[in-house]
């Protein structure tokens, strides 16, 4: 089935450390892929998206993600995590042919230690 999977339910990192959140996809063709963040007390926000072309995508808040076809992955990265990055992160891909209909992963909760 076409879907995305986030293998890690919870990740803890120290402030200033680097971060990588995993997302694996199962689509036949190159999919459109997205990362969203849900911060405490705030609505879900689009961090970045990959449609085609350059496999390294830059997003807001200093995040980036790399599309790797060979590994069927679209991992989210940040070189140096800030305490304000503590949130839940969702990877998403299309469900069917319309982008409005997205399949979201179960999310990865990020805790940042001071």
């Amino acid at each position: 089935a076409q879907s995305v999977t986030q293998p890690d339910i919870h990740i803890t990192v120290s402030e200033g450390a680097s971060l990588e959140l995993r997302c694996n996809y199962s689509y036949g063709a190159t999919p459109y892929l997205f990362w969203y963040v849900q911060s405490p007390g705030q609505g879900l926000q689009l961090l970045l998206k990959y449609f085609s072309g350059d496999t390294l995508v830059q997003g807001i808040k200093g995040f980036e993600a790399e599309f790797k076809r060979s590994q069927s992955s679209f991992n989210l990265r940040k070189p140096s995590v800030h305490w304000s990055d503590a949130a839940e992160y969702f990877c998403a891909g299309p469900r069917g042919s319309t982008l409005g209909r997205l399949y979201f992963g179960r999310g990865t909760q990020l805790t940042v230690w001071p």
């Binding site: 609505g43 879900l44 689009l46 069917g96 409005g100 209909r101 979201f104 179960r106």
Partner: protein, 114 residues
Amino acid sequence: GAGVSQSPSNKVTEKGKDVELRCDPISGHTALYWYRQRLGQGLEFLIYFQGNSAPDKSGLPSDRFSAERTGESVSTLTIQRTQQEDSAVYLCASSFNGGGQPQHFGDGTRLSIL
């Protein structure tokens, strides 16, 4: 308004009652999406409105669920004869480009069925 507005923020109701959830999208956004997030799970697509096109209702879980949208404005999601499994956070999102992914989410309505 500045963002997507949803009301009520919380709703507690008895099993079997009908509920109506409201979403005010960002002004000028042609696309509107409803998702729900059950405890411990990722977001689940419900329905997608794009301008005057017929809505994509493929995610509605049963005929107890319906949604309407007035032009490119307010949307209401109605759940009839609520069941306990309907308990979730119902999220509304809107976007400007319509043919793309949900861009801006509201804070959601937390629905609890007793």
